[in-house]
């Protein structure tokens, strides 16, 4: 049996080169000066001070956070009722509805975003609204599916018990159904917030050139400007931002869990 454990070795080499090394390279680039070769590495914090002392970059970061938060909120607001209504259908209708929610996800995100350009050209929305619509459209299926899973896995006898004990519909929902579906909402938040905050093609396709998010900054510094050191620093800042947000979400999740007890 032990012979099989050797089968991991090639993959260990593989992930060292293709997963660990790239992450270390981003770190290295973020903390070094431009134009360095391996022999003349010069470490610096300039890339970070440049980001935070500039007037534009922090506001782009704030804008990315804001639109990602709005996207996440709207996905919960519209996705929760949808998941709830779907979970009330009979089995066959439910399977069909879930298939219909899943189907667009199999079509390339870029093509789905492109599809909105025609429709949005009828309206005189400002860039932010257009980008918001595109983001909610692209990411709400994740939210619906996660919430639906947690709702349909729920022990139906708990709901019956609440009703037997005299709770009305609203009380049953607020005290039993909703708290039990929180894990689904949290999973949905992770799946929506993360791609939303780092998105760069949705603002570019729907927002025109004037709506810049942190993802667009990274794209610009890697593709157009070629300042990879600064680009790496920006993506590191974004990664820290995301890790911090996820940590906060988990904390809120725990707090709700403790309150229940």
């Amino acid at each position: 049996m032990k012979t099989f454990s050797k089968l991991v070795w090639p993959y260990m080499a593989w992930i060292t080169v293709f997963i660990v090394a790239p992450m270390l390279l981003i770190l290295l680039y973020a903390f070094t000066k431009e134009g360095n070769s391996v022999l003349t590495l010069q470490f610096t914090l300039n890339n970070f001070t440049r980001f935070f002392s500039d007037s534009i970059f922090p506001s782009v970061m704030a804008r990315s956070l804001k639109i990602a938060l709005m996207t996440t909120l709207l996905c919960i607001l519209f996705g929760y009722p949808a998941a709830y209504c779907i979970s009330k259908l009979n089995d066959k209708q439910q399977a069909l509805a879930i298939l219909l929610v899943t189907l667009p996800m199999w079509i390339n995100m870029l093509i789905r975003t492109y599809a909105w350009r025609g429709i949005l050209s009828y309206f005189d929305f400002d860039s932010e609204i257009k980008v918001l619509i595109g983001m909610v459209y692209n990411f709400i299926p994740f939210m619906i599916l996660q919430i639906h899973t947690s709702l349909s896995k729920m022990d139906q006898s708990l709901i019956a018990a609440a009703e037997d004990l005299g709770a009305n519909k609203t009380q049953t929902f607020m005290r039993v159904i909703f708290p039990l579906s929180i894990p689904g909402v949290i999973a949905g938040i992770t799946l929506v917030f993360l791609p939303a905050v780092s998105s760069f093609f949705i603002p570019k396709l729907l927002g025109g050139g004037d709506y810049v998010l942190i993802g667009n900054l990274i794209e610009n510094y890697f593709v157009s400007t070629g300042d990879w050191n600064f680009g790496s620093a920006i993506s590191l800042i974004m990664a820290v931002l995301i890790i911090f947000s996820m940590f906060l979400t988990k904390r809120i999740d725990h707090q709700i869990g403790e309150e229940k007890e």
Binding site: N108, G118, F200
Partner: protein
């Protein structure tokens, strides 16, 4: 009261579906538009389909998308399955560490993974093109294969493979004749996820490809500046193909079950 509530619920679902499918139908309708406009439908025509099939960059993009997805799926399925089997037999610490690193491409924002590849290929002096694109796709597909094979391996009874070895099977035979057939459902679903991940990818492909090698998504992104209704035609074909495959995948098991049910009744 209950009937009314149900109606409101169904109405809401319908509204949601409208939101999901409106842009898709819009693109499909305008793929048959005679003029170049994306807002005025002037008449029915197939001109954009002709243009699409005649367009060398579009056909090349379709070709690269499919070829990359097929090779990446094949390689990552084999590599991922072998690794998963190895992981299930290795020490816990090693397994945990490998699985943690394995999670990184799935948890990281895609753009961070993408620029990581870009920095890696440059520092290794590899010119970006078909090979770098393929390697990147294999890297981000393998984690999904491992994740879908691991649960099947956990359910596996260790004694059966032991028995095969005791009865004189070589480790290779035990692997191919005993272990792999039992974890096949996990392998197949892993391969399917890998294929769709590769087929749909834009961000990582965009940063790891070189001049002349584009997939469908990169082509769409690079041609957004001008109006190009051939993209509507291409999108329509993709939507139709994806829908057909998904419906078949969902309907065939139902029909098979029904037939089975009938046969059982007869016998």
């Amino acid at each position: 009261m209950k009937a009314l509530k149900r109606k409101i619920g169904n109405g809401y679902i319908l509204l949601m579906m409208l939101f999901f499918y409106l842009p898709i139908f819009y693109v499909m309708i305008f793929s048959f538009n005679e003029s170049k406009s994306l807002t005025r439908f002037t008449g029915f025509s197939l001109v954009w389909y002709e243009k699409m099939f005649a367009s060398r960059p579009i056909m090349e993009a379709v070709y690269y998308t499919i070829v990359i997805a097929l090779i990446a799926t094949a390689v990552s399925t084999v590599f991922g399955t072998i690794t998963a089997i190895g992981l299930s037999k290795s020490r816990k610490i090693l397994r945990e560490v490998v699985l943690q690193i394995n999670d990184i491409p799935m948890l990281n924002p895609e753009i961070v993974t993408a620029i990581g590849f870009m920095l890696l290929f440059t520092s290794m002096n590899i010119e970006k093109g078909f090979m770098t694109l393929l390697i990147a796709h294999i890297v981000f597909c393998i984690p999904y294969v491992i994740l879908s094979v691991m649960p099947k391996l956990r359910q596996l009874d260790d004694n059966i493979a032991e028995a095969a070895l005791d009865l004189g099977a070589t480790p290779f035979q035990a692997l191919t004749k005993v272990i792999i057939p039992q974890i096949m459902p996990g392998v197949v679903s892993g391969a399917l996820i890998a294929f769709t991940m590769s087929f749909d990818d834009f961000i990582i492909s965009f940063f790891t490809t070189g001049p002349g090698v584009n997939n469908i998504a990169i082509y769409v992104y690079s041609s957004i500046k001008r109006i190009n209704p051939s993209i509507n035609a291409l999108s329509t074909i993709i939507v139709v193909v994806v829908t057909t495959v998904l419906v078949l995948v969902n309907v065939i098991p139902v029909i098979r079950d029904r037939k089975k049910g009938k046969n059982e009744k007869i016998s």
